[in-house]
Each structure stands twice: as C-alpha cells, then as structure tokens.
Symmetry: C2
Subunit: 403 residues, 2 copies
C-alpha cells in the first residue's frame, strides 16, 4: 500500500484514492474495493469507491488547482474544498435528509469524502428527459427555508453568525459569480458566448438599455454587500440529485454569506429555463403543455413551501425581539421575493449568453427553435429584473411566465 | 526602570506607561517625561505623556477588560483596541489630515500610542458652548466620502475588500449597537433611562406604534447584514476633535463593515440633537436663531461635501464596470441618503431614552425645557425613520427640521 502524504497537495489517482480511503479507516485493509473516476475533470476529481462484498460505496471528491472551461485553464483556489465540506456539514446539521453526509475532509489535500448518490439522477438531466420528481418542490422549498433561516440573523445567534462569516470568506469563487453572472453578460465582454444571429438582439435588449443596467448594478451591489445568510451560492438544477423518493443538494463550494434571494432565484431561473426549453424537447403540444404545467407547479410549490416553512421557523425560533412585531415577517418575505426575481433574471440571461450555457437549451438541435428559446429567456429575464418590485406574488410570476 | 511584560495583559499605571513609552523607543531613556491619566476610566485608560524639554507629547490609550456604565460593570473584549488601531491606520491611509497617527500598537496589551490632540476641543463640548467650527462640515463631509468610498466595493478591489472584512469582525461591539441603538429603546427594556414624566409619551409614540417598529426592524436588519464599507461605527460629536483650523476623528473601536449611511446618520443625529438643545442653552432668541442656522448649515454642507466628493472619487477611481452607467451614482447616493435618515432617527431616539444620554440635552437645567427637547427629538427621530424614502434631499431635511 502507498502512503498518502497529507502535508502537501497532490492529485489522487484511482490507486492512491483507494489506498487513502483505507488509510482514513473508511474501509478495512482486507476489503476488496472497486473504484472509478466519474468527474468531468474540469474542476474536480471525483472517485466512486465501492466495497465489492458489502456494496457499500462512498464518493471521494478532490479539488483541482485549476479550472478548465472552453479550452482555456486558469488557477482556482483549493480552499473551495474546505468551504464545500464546511458548508455541507452546516447544511447536514439542519437538513440531513437533503445533504450528503461528510465522512472525512482534509483541507491540504482539498478532499471531501461523502455519501455516494449514484442511485439518484441529476435533476437537470431528468428535467431535460421530461421526468417528474414528485418531491422536488417540497424538498427544495424546505431545504431553502431551513438552511437559510438557521444561518441568518433571524435564526441563529447574531454574534455567532458574525464569527461564522470568518469560515466562509470566499473571494475567489464570489468573483466568478460577480463577473460571469452580474457583469460580463451586460457588456460586450470576451467571456460571453453569443451566437452571431443573436448579437444584434443582445446589443439592443441588454447592452444599450441603461435603465436595465442600473437595475443589474443594484443587484450586483446586493450580491457584494448583503450578508443575510450562509447561502449555497450555486443552486442550479445541476447541483441537485433526485429520485421519486429523495432529493439531495450537492456542490456548495460557492457558499458565502450573501442574499437569501440568490439561492431561491438560482433554482427558479433554472426551472424557468427548462420550462422554455421544452419547446425544443417535447413535440406533442398537449404533452408539452402538461409537462410545462408540472414545471410551473414546481415553481409555485417551491416558493409556497419556502414561505410557509420560513414563517413557521420564524414563529418558533425567533432570535430577535423585532420578529414578534406584526407585519415584519411579511416585509422580510416580500423583500426576499423581490431579490429572488432580480437574481433569477440575471441567472437566466447569464446562461443564455455568458460563459456557461445550460444543456436544457443547448441540446435543442433545431437552430431557429434554440435561438427563439434564448430570445424568450433573455426577454423574460430582463422583465423579472425590471419588474421585480411590481410582481409581488408567485402567482403573478406564473401569469407573467405563461403570457 | 520597570520592564513591561508584553506577553500578558495588565493595566498600566502612570509609572509603567512612562517606562513603556521609553521601552518602545518613543522617548529616550534620558528624557524628562511628565504624564497624566486623562481618561474617564469607564472603558479605557488614557495617558498623556510629554517630554518636558521638547514639549513633544503622545497619547497612550489602553483598553480595560470591562465597561462601567451607570454604576454597573460588564466584561468587554480587549480586541476592540486592535480594531481601533487597525481602523485608525486604514483611515490614515486615505485621510491623514483627519486622523491621529498611530505610532505603536500592541494587541496583547490592548494599547495604541498615537498623536496627542490636547490642542483641540471635543466638538460636542464646543457646540454646547456655542462655538463655531468653520471647517467642521467640509472636513467631516470629506472624511466620510474618502474613508467610506475607499473601503467599499466602489473604491477598493472587491476581493481585497472581502479579505479585509476578516480583520474587522467585531461581534461584541456590534452587539452593543444592536441592543442599545436599535432594540432596547423600542421596547420596555431595563437598559432604558426614561424620566417618569416622559414614560407615557414614549409608550404611545414608540412602543405602541407597530408601523414604526417594522421600520426600525428593517433598519436593524441593514445594520446586521449590509456590509457596504468599513465604517467608523460611532461617529458622534464626542468622537471628533476640532479647532478653527483642524478636524480629527478618533475612537473607531466600533469599526466593522456596515452600511455607509450609519456613519453619516450618526453625525447628523448629533448635530440635530445639539440644534434642538439650544433652546436650553442660548436664551437670547436672535443669538439662538443665528447659532441654529449655523448648525443647519453644518448639516447641509456636510452632506453636500460628502455628495460632491463621493461623486468625484466615483468618477476617478471606479472599481466596477457598472459605475460608468448613467444614473447609477444617483441611485447609490439616494439609497445612502435614505439609510442616513433612518439611522439618524434611531440614534436620536436612543440618546433621548436609552442607556447613554447626551450632555447637549442632559445639561439643560430647566426640567420642563429639557423634557420638551426630548419630546421634540423623539418626534423628529420617528419622523426621519418613517419618512426616509419621502425626504429625498438635504434641503427637504432642513425644511422638516425647521417646521
């Protein structure tokens, strides 16, 4: 057996990953293990290691010191592995049912060992295939309410919260969001990825619209300054594993103390993008309408569950005298909803013309259809940003979407 | 000579303070020094040490591990001395003309050695005496614009700003503000100090007004979550030394990353309280009107200088692409002004009925006059909180005050 040097970073191979999993006591030396690397290799190594006799398996995830995107490569802090494992542990404390359990982490090796979720499906893939997840909306609404409430000034000791921010100082990954979500798509920036047939539309609809840019500037300022709760920071449908019985949220390496609406907005944006993309996936109109109705119900149920759960936690676990004042909860939820819509709008636009597209839309083979979906998504995103204080309920949002 | 143990904390005496000032090389062993303790002994020891031959003098300030207020005593972190000296150094980098220079600091001893400002007067005292400081408004407006801009996401690298927040994690002193400014005065709390003749008025005007409490709740949430800039955190007129030629801001031990409007609001609140208190200080009506006009000019000039200077820094030192978008600067300044009014209102109310009063009002001997001033200050504070989005310019504020 090789010995793993835990004092300096080096990337695992399948062989050293297997040895390491024994070394830290997750398996016995005599266990017969099978391992494979299942990551995409762009940001992280992901090893699935299974005991052939018991079928017990775990995931060993190791951050790589660089990111590869669209051919180029840039350095990326290994500290994100520490942030991810810490964030998973904090989520596990309040919503163990929706969180992979962390069995081991090592900050020097940038490694996290956690539950294997191979029995579940990535929700983005599932929604592209037209699958229905009956628990998804309820589970994500509950996940959002509990993780966000219990890591905010509403639900945790306000001095402990300040100390906890020290653990989640995440400048490098925040910068990725600041650039790729809030800045680059709204300027003619070389990270953008804009089909030539869409360029004029983007120039007119986004880049020349000063009033829109003022609004996005304010939303970016919120992302930079509103330390409301420990947020996941990248809660798109690719960060969620699910089946008919189970929902699990992974990959919180972007976690930091930010605005509550950013997590909710990320989820809503990705559901809306899938909704719009169905034009290119389900040909039969009736079948398509039915599936889109399901997606709208995910939208409304997620918010409604969040709203009810957050309110229930508020009643029972108030950390602040003002939380007993009539009407204050409504003020807070209204503000969260407004932020949610604004962030959802930015996220939708970013996915249409920024560095990282979404498979939901990119997988549409017919070019005209695909471009139409992108135009509609950009228009809807812009509308959410600009009308976020006028759209005051999830039902109004639904009306806006279906119009 | 005694040797000072720099490994563990102990409070200085005049003798050890003198020895220490030589030990760290501020004076020669042979210098003939004179020293006195000039602090009020409630929170800090403050030694003034002077070389009898050269007249060169310095201040050695040491934090005490407790706070004494109104007879009782509670433990208070020594870390505030570190925060204070770090905040002074950061202010000195951008506004050396308004900041005492730090010659030495030791975090274990909780000590900061800095410029002696005995040639200046505490502004609160001066304004009670009816003094005019011709530079005060311009200097404080400039101080606010430069310290706040250069320590915000507008004027400093946004990733460096995140790292800098680690130095200014200040939970204990923030809690003092959270309790004494935002919470206790709006509930029947035992830290309040309410004259019995004022109690009914306070119950009706503040404690029974749910819509007011919702607004204060939102302002407190901003204080808890809006990490906009490194703020002074306690910028009342007792933290400002001045003469006709000079203005210096001291005591930033409450510094943390908070809302820009909190510092501006603190200054404005204390000018307004002095304005209202003149009813009890200057008997001659014409003389009083003239002095009150001067105070109003301090108010308007401070804001106007802040506004112009902040705008100039914005043009020349933009750290964010969105800062070139037409209208965004106006949006930011409008939001800062709104926050300023809200925080000013909370600060005024707090000083009238909370734990720490202000001498401006407490020094009024005639009880009826004093209570009237308190009622007016509470009413005005409440009005600023509730109308902060309707009062959109400093001239409108002036009108509100003079009505």
């Amino acid at each position: 057996m090789m010995t793993i040097d835990t004092v300096k970073y080096e990337p695992f191979t399948i062989e050293t990953a297997v040895d390491y999993s024994k070394q830290i006591g997750l398996f016995e030396q005599s266990d017969l293990l099978e391992a494979e690397e299942i990551g995409d290799g762009n940001l992280n190594l992901v090893f699935r290691i299974q005991n052939k006799n018991t079928n017990k398996s775990i995931i060993l995830k190791q951050a790589l010191p660089y990111a590869k995107v669209v051919g180029s490569s840039w350095p990326l802090t290994l500290d994100r592995a520490r942030i991810e494992s810490e964030a998973l542990k904090h989520a596990y404390e309040v919503v163990p049912e929706f969180t992979p359990r962390v069995y081991h982490s090592d900050h020097t090796l940038a490694v996290t060992v956690m539950d294997d979720l191979s029995h579940l499906q990535i929700v983005r893939k599932g929604l592209i295939e037209g699958n229905v997840y009956p628990r998804l909306a309820r589970d994500i609404g509950t996940f959002l309410a509990h993780t966000l409430f219990y890591h905010s000034d509403f639900g945790m000791n306000q001095q402990e919260k300040k100390k906890l921010t020290l653990k989640f100082n995440n400048p490098e990954l925040c910068k990725i969001t600041e650039d790729l979500v809030f800045t680059d798509p709204f300027f003619d920036h070389d990270t953008n990825n804009i089909p030539s047939k869409l360029r004029e539309f983007v120039e007119t609809t986004l880049w020349s619209d000063k009033s829109l840019k003022r609004e996005v500037a304010s939303l970016k300022h919120l992302f930079l300054t509103k330390g409301e709760a420990l947020i996941h920071g990248d809660l798109h449908t690719g960060s969620i594993f699910a089946s008919a019985e189970e929902t699990v949220v992974i990959d919180p390496e972007f976690a930091y103390f930010g605005p509550i609406g950013f997590d909710i907005g990320a989820f809503i944006a990705n559901i809306l993008l899938n909704y719009l993309s169905q034009e290119g996936h389900i040909e039969d109109e009736q079948a398509r309408n039915e599936y889109q109705d399901y997606l709208l119900s995910v939208l409304t149920e997620t918010w409604n569950v969040f709203d009810v759960e957050f309110g229930a936690l508020w009643q029972d676990n108030a950390q602040d005298s003002f939380m007993k004042v009539d009407g204050y909860l409504d003020d807070v939820l209204n503000q969260i909803f407004q932020d949610t819509l604004g962030f959802a709008g930015c996220k939708m636009i970013r996915r249409m013309i920024g560095l990282a597209g979404v498979e939901d839309v990119e997988a549409i083979e017919n070019e005209e259809l695909r471009l139409n979906v992108k135009r509609t998504a950009i228009t809807l995103g812009k509308l959410l940003i600009q009308n976020r204080s006028q759209i005051t309920s999830i039902n109004e949002l639904k009306k806006v979407v279906t119009q």
